[in-house]
């Protein structure tokens, strides 16, 4: 009985792994010619998984009823919220990737499989309620991601990105694992609930070290400063569809994991990690903003922007309460839409031969040559900067409101003042597109799938997005409530 129940709760993971294996066979049989068909099948699999996930979120599943495999895994509303974002991001990657790789003659049948396996790993990350399950999910995702980063084998930058990601990622995993072992040593438990209970009361120095190491390892995965160095290089070097993926799905997974670990596993000792999160948040905001100013590559700029945005999301975590967690989830959902819009727009920047254009200077005067694309990128930039009435403002609003309600006034004031620095480079991109004379570099056409994705994501972050702010807030609230449900 218990086995069946656990199997039911981990249904999406089973669907992903079995269909991944079947598609692997298909790939072995069909070769690279079948890659498009496999991509389509993978999108279908992700859609099925998303449909399977929705009930948990709608019914606000939480507590022991949705805990599987002896407390290793939880199918609660929080995990469901993260999984929906992850599956959506993975599906976007699969939709935009074939066209990109086919142009480089580098489309391989493994790509959709890697995305599926990474999605499965990330699903485990957001569902994990045990440090071992956490680590397995994280590594499953990371290994797939390292390969994806260097998927353009002939491109030096892509190979460099993959190598850097691998070396630094392994280091971070090592740090994380060390932290986990310290925590285990001082609490005698690997389950989050056990750690939560054991950490209550006076805190051992060793356990503090463990917390610090775990947080450092996870900060690397969410690319928060001061562990952000790999981000610009990897985002720039990786093929653009893969950068889209990195900016969205793994970020959601790692942030959700960080939330579950901090708020649940270490939830009985918020004082021990709150300062670290505040420091990391402010540093990420400032470094993300200052670092972006000098960039002339749009992908690097978006990488710094993601560091900056992670900083804002961590402000929600620093609140260490349910409102802060809900704010973070809202921000995360909006951030995914903004990143998808941003990277799909970058993918649509092509010169007359169809080769990708990545330099900001080449975007000069885009509003005259490609007005719709320019307005879309403009909307993304203002939204990332958090200027109302674009929906990106709402994410910032939520986290800052949570911070103010939690009494973190200084953090909120400094964070929001630093957001003005960030606004500088966002409006610089707008300036290049709208105020400068046309460079006439971006003349290539984009395909229908890209245009549809860009349209949908830009509508989501446009003022029309306000229409969904009520349901989004409710869903995030349910997910956050699940996180704080102590059995």
């Amino acid at each position: 009985m218990e086995l069946l129940r656990s199997l039911a709760i981990t249904g999406t993971e089973e669907v992903l792994s079995i269909s991944g294996l079947i598609l692997l066979l298909a790939a072995g049989w069909g070769g690279d010619k079948a890659s498009r068909a496999i991509s389509i099948a993978a999108v279908a699999v992700l859609t099925v998984c998303a449909v399977l996930t929705v009930p948990a979120l709608c019914h606000a599943a939480m507590g022991p009823g949705v805990s599987a495999w002896n407390g290793q895994f939880s199918g609660d509303a929080f995990a469901a919220f993260g999984k929906l974002l992850i599956y959506a991001s993975a599906a976007v990657t699969l939709i935009i990737a074939p066209a990109f790789f086919e142009r480089e003659n580098a489309m391989r049948a493994e790509f959709p499989l890697l995305v599926l396996l990474a999605a499965m790993g990330m699903g485990m990350m957001v569902s994990a309620t045990d440090t071992l399950a956490l680590y397995i999910g994280l590594e499953l995702n990371s290994l797939a991601a390292y390969v994806m980063a260097s998927f353009l084998r002939s491109d030096e930058r892509s190979a460099e990105a993959g190598l850097k990601y691998f070396v630094l990622g392994s280091l971070a995993s090592g740090i994380l694992l060390y932290g986990i072992s310290l925590i285990y040593g001082f609490t005698g438990s690997t389950s989050f609930a056990g750690i939560h209970g054991a950490l209550a009361g006076p805190l051992f120095m060793g356990a503090t070290f463990g917390i610090v190491f775990v947080l450092a390892g996870l900060a690397f995965k969410v690319s928060a400063a001061p562990f952000h160095m790999w981000t610009p290089d990897v985002y720039e070097g990786a093929p653009t569809p893969v950068s889209t993926f990195f900016a969205t799905a793994p970020k959601v997974a790692a942030l959700a994991l960080l939330m579950r670990v901090s708020l649940f596993a270490f939830g009985s000792q918020p004082g021990a990690w709150q300062q670290i999160v505040i420091f990391v948040a402010l540093l990420s905001i400032v470094i993300g903003a200052l670092g972006a100013i000098g960039q002339d590559n749009i992908k690097r700029l978006l990488a710094y922007s993601s560091i900056n945005n992670v900083g804002f999301m961590l402000i929600g975590l620093a609140c260490a309460n349910q409102a802060g967690a809900a704010a973070m989830l809202v921000y995360l959902a909006i951030y995914v839409a903004m990143s998808v819009a941003g990277f799909v727009a970058v993918l649509m920047l092509r010169d007359a031969d169809g080769a990708p254009v990545e330099s900001i200077a080449a975007m000069a005067g885009l509003s005259k040559t490609r007005p719709a694309l320019a307005w879309a990128i403009g909307a993304v930039m203002f939204s990332l900067a958090g200027i109302p009435p674009l929906f990106g403002f709402w994410g910032k609003f939520m986290v800052f409101q949570a911070a103010v309600q939690a009494g973190l006034l200084t953090l909120a004031a400094i964070g929001i003042a630093a957001s003005v620095i960030g606004a500088f480079y966002y409006i610089k991109v707008v300036k290049v597109m709208f105020f400068d004379e046309a460079a006439d570099v971006v003349t290539g056409q984009s395909d229908l799938a890209q245009r549809v994705l860009l349209f949908v994501s830009v509508v989501a972050i446009s003022p029309l997005g306000w229409l969904i702010n009520k349901p989004l807030g409710e869903l995030a609230g349910r997910a956050a409530a699940a996180l704080f449900h102590i059995a």
Binding site: S367, F397, Q405, I416, K431, F434
Partner: protein
Amino acid sequence: MNGVPILSLMLLVPLVGAVACLMAGREQARVIALAATLVDLVLGAFLWSHYQIGGPQWQFQEHAAIFAGFEWKLGIDGIALLLIALTVFLMPICIGASWNAIEKRAGEYYANFLIMETLMIGVFTAQDLFLFYIMFEAGLIPMYLIIGIWGGADRIYASYKFFLYTLLGSVLMLIAMMWMVNEAGTSDIPTLMAYSFPVKAQTWLWLAFFASFAVKMPMWPTHTWLPDAHVQAPTAGSVILAGVLLKMGGYGFIRFSLPMFPEASAQFAPLIYGLSMAAVVITSLIALVQHDMKKLIAYSSVAHMAIVTVGLFAFNRQGLEGSMIVMLSHGIVSGALFLAVGVIYDRLHTREIDRYGGLAINMPAYALFFMLFTMASVGLPGTSGFVGEFLSLMGIYAQSSWVALVCTTGIILGAAYMLYLYRRVVFGVQKNADAAAMPDLDAREWAMMIPLAVAVLWMGVYPETFLAPMRKDIAGLEARLAQARPKGDADVQIAAISPAAATHEHGDAMEHGAQVHGPEAAHGEAR
């Protein structure tokens, strides 16, 4: 009347027009824009005619709970009504000013202007704190694009400066708003206006709001974005910037800082006085040495806005009413002056004062209108400028005679730089052949100048039209401020009259008698 959500409609019309403009070519776009702004003007006239003077404080209220975290809540009082009227009045004129001047990317241009109109009306109608913030802040985007795309040579620097200055000013206000909502448990503006925040917290809240409004206003020394933005913006951009955007700062003070934080306002009044005195004298002197017409008018705006701030922080009815009238008058007059500059700029494509001269000979009608607006800017009795400045300075005189003394020099300096400007441009010999060959106003320009001239004279001769709708609101604000009013240095003479009668007669004497018996009224007050 009750069934029609007229305020939402006023927000919707320009927005729909903006979307239509984006898709249309130049010819259609300007027609659409003109039509949309005229429809809003009609709606605004309807609004004013159905506004019950002396009726409930908040009228035309609308409420729809469609958002989480804040509410779609609109409503106006007399103060908002007047500023909305100013907005809808100036907008068709802005479109008219752009009619021939804008040739490139006209669709986007008009779309930005119409979005601006929506947001400006939104700022004045919002009854939810966060809705107000969204409208207030969102105005940055269209204005950034207007300055940056259609501005002059140095437009990029000016647009950055405008954007970042105002953004930095307002983000701190957002944090303060969140704190207030957390404290009071509601984001409803009318409720917050009556809420008593702890005095210690008020200090910080006031400073955060001040950071935003002082930049927007702009007050010395945060005014430096304004001359750059004005000089580089296209004519219509300058009109809307000076005419309405600057008023958001004053509106912010009167709607938020004063009623929500009366004690802190009293505490910081000396700061306001100091900055305003500095602004009046310094920016007037700077205006005196300008060679660029738009820059001169921009600096004069800063000086006029300083009169507004001292009037607001006079904590009495004359000061508050005077400030409102200065805002309305300055909206019309500075808009008209920028338009007057635009008229000759369109012909000669320079704003250099020395390139003109003797325009009275070849452009007599232009010279006449320019004279009227110059006099209104100086504050000649009979024009709108006089009423407001007189009331404001009266108000501050009751509070601090020294501040009144220094600020009054602004009137003298104002006369100096404006008349000097007028003499150099309109009188004298016709030095330049091309300037001498410029044709007089055409029909389109007449159509823009006449409403402005009528408004200036109307407000100067019969200000009661404009004072009546806001009288009750100003009285309410005065009552709210009464508990916190700092002790002035000139309240000796008021003690001679019984206080109740004093406030009543005081207001009436001012409103009816100001333009006719201005100096006598002042004497009567002193006695």
